[in-house]
Amino acid sequence: MMRVSKRSTIKGKYILLIRVTAVLLALISLGVFISFMGHDPIKVYKAMIEGCFGSAYRFKETIKTAIPLTITALGIMLAFKMKFWNIGAEGQILMGAFAGSFVALNFTNLPKPIMLTLMLIAGIIGGGIWALIPTWFKVKYGTNETLFTLMMNYIALKWIIYLQYGPWKDPNALGFPKIPNFVDAALLPKFLGVHLGWVIAIVLVVGIYFLINYTKLGFEISVIGNSENTARYAGMNVKGIILKTLFIGGGLCGMSGIIQASAVSGNLTYEVSAGVGYTAIIIAWLSGMRAPIIPLTAFLFAILTQGASYIQTAFQIPQSAAEILQGMILIFTLASEFFISYKVNFDFSNIGKTRKQLKEEM
């Protein structure tokens, strides 16, 4: 009756259609959910859009939300392309922020350009090393990277909490546990109204796109992702490539962390990552691991988050609704993958025939 067969080819436009349908279905489902709660979904969605684009300030806030999502998703994409499940982006963000903050707090007399450059480099190194630790074990002993990187997230979080409540606690903060604010030289300046992070993000998108499609490393990453054995037979140094790539990926997440600390909060707290590390995983996945699509998806998610925070006061719909929507978009997209890879054929001609008839036909 229903036959499932694998597709051999599929047109790109068809893939786009399926993916967009998935997102639309998720939005419609949440709309139904919202109407069950007694609100008019159209009004709610309109309010969400207004919450993001309604004023220059809100638009800038939306962009500011999209920046760390973009940079982190790029870093995650590099790992995922090799089928290395790096769930540790959250921890890499935190450790990058930590490393950059170390520079910011201890070298306060540096001029601004040097200070910022050093902070960014420190952020890359911090995140990169944090990613290297689980990678090294995976490469050497085959240790499960999904759980290792996840545990590293929690350790990184506890580390920052330890610093915030302990050695780095601000003595001038009247007992309130916080790390001192960065000096002005350590704050990322604005460009066209939003902090420089957006320029960095765009540069990185172009850079990573170039890396994946026009460099040797990019090629090696794709081959390993497709089949590790093929890469080995081709003489590639698989272990070295994985370590290199994860360092870059973790470094990107770390950079995202220090950018957030420097440009948005002006100091370091354990909330500097705010779940970006996990949301960025969805973004990387939904973008089909393609660098140019990542900023678009990140922007979409920024709209969801910003919008949700805006309607929280207006409609009493809690922030977690944004999370539900993100989860649903992901689920619908995962489900739609099936229709991209497989074709379903319905053949009703055999209904109603008896066993004898079927046998005779054979």
Partner: protein
């Protein structure tokens, strides 16, 4: 004597881990890696509390939690078995959905408490005979009914997997689904059923937190326990009996940070809080270095089963 008190508390702290680990063992034995345990625990916690608070019936609370977990398990099963989606990402999406959904529903439950008659059901009881065993007896058997059902679940799971026909079939599916299919076992049906039951058990782990351990609803009530449970599955070599030991060990690590404070050690409490995660990592590394470690994993774990590719 202080150590016995500590062990007693460790058992209570380890019970949510035990339920979640046992549920995940069942799921993984069927060949599917469900990383949504954290989300499942949260769903179990919130629905259990919701049901318990509105109906004042502990039985309904537990059943609702299990049902909610089973439903989410079915969603995971549908995505990974029928739609052949990537299991790692699907599990993550269940976690995200579970976190969001529980936060959403839980908002109306903040600050609520259970009635006297409700908490009375989960009071400490003494199992006749067994609790009289010197030293270990009170630690293990002078506990509330939820904790006791935890051991029961794990032991029954072990018996099911190793001594019954269904358990054997399940294990075959996890090792080599093609061979199982060829010998007439209905692979998809087994996967659906066991993933759903596994999901229900994980949800019960969460329900324990909101109904007995805390007992209330908090946003981060699971605090990463779901992930530790996934690691515990590897740590206990997919063996439910070892899982009991592992769960209590990690339960102890969970509470040690707070308790050790009174001894005024020079180490900050926050560093000690890292212990469960550091130990988990050490266990992961150890398991991967030792040859036999991950050799006990079901061979076909996290590989989607394509019936069409049987030939």
């Amino acid at each position: 004597m202080a150590i016995l008190v500590f062990l007693h508390a460790a058992v209570q702290a380890g019970t949510p881990l035990l339920f979640a680990t046992a549920g995940e063992i069942l799921t993984e034995k069927s060949g599917n890696l469900n990383l949504g345990v954290e989300g499942l625990m949260l769903i179990g916690a919130v629905f259990g509390f919701l049901a318990g608070n509105s109906t004042n019936s502990p039985l309904l609370a537990v059943l609702s939690a299990a049902a909610a977990g089973a439903l989410c398990g079915l969603l995971f099963a549908w995505l990974t078995v029928s739609l052949r989606a990537n299991q790692v990402v699907t599990g993550l999406s269940i976690t995200i959905l579970g976190t969001g959904l529980s936060g959403f529903i839980g908002r109306g439950l903040m600050g609520k408490v259970m009635s006297e008659s409700f908490t009375h059901v989960f009071r400490i009881i003494e199992v006749p005979l067994l609790s009289k065993i010197p030293l270990i007896g009170p630690v293990l058997f002078k506990q509330n009914i939820f904790v006791l059902s935890g051991y029961l679940c794990a032991i029954l799971l072990g018996l099911y997997l190793n001594k019954t026909r269904f358990g054997l079939n399940l294990r075959i599916i996890g090792e080599n689904p093609y061979a199982a299919d060829a010998s007439g076992i209905q692979v998809s049906l087994y996967k659906y059923v066991h993933i759903a039951i596994g999901g229900a058990m994980c949800a019960l782990g969460g329900a324990y937190l909101s109904l007995v351990y805390v007992p209330a609803w908090q946003e981060q009530i699971t605090a990463g326990r779901g992930w530790i449970a996934v690691a515990l599955v590897i740590f206990s070599s997919w063996n439910p009996n070892k899982a009991i030991f592992g769960a209590f060990l990690f339960g102890g690590l969970d509470i040690i940070g707070f308790r050790i404070q009174q001894y005024n050690l020079p180490i900050s409490q926050y560093l000690i809080d890292m212990l469960p995660y550091v130990v988990t990592i050490s266990a992961l590394i150890y398991m991967s270095i030792s040859k036999s470690g991950s050799g006990n994993a079901p061979e076909a774990l996290s590989e989607p089963y394509f019936r069409e590719e049987r030939y």
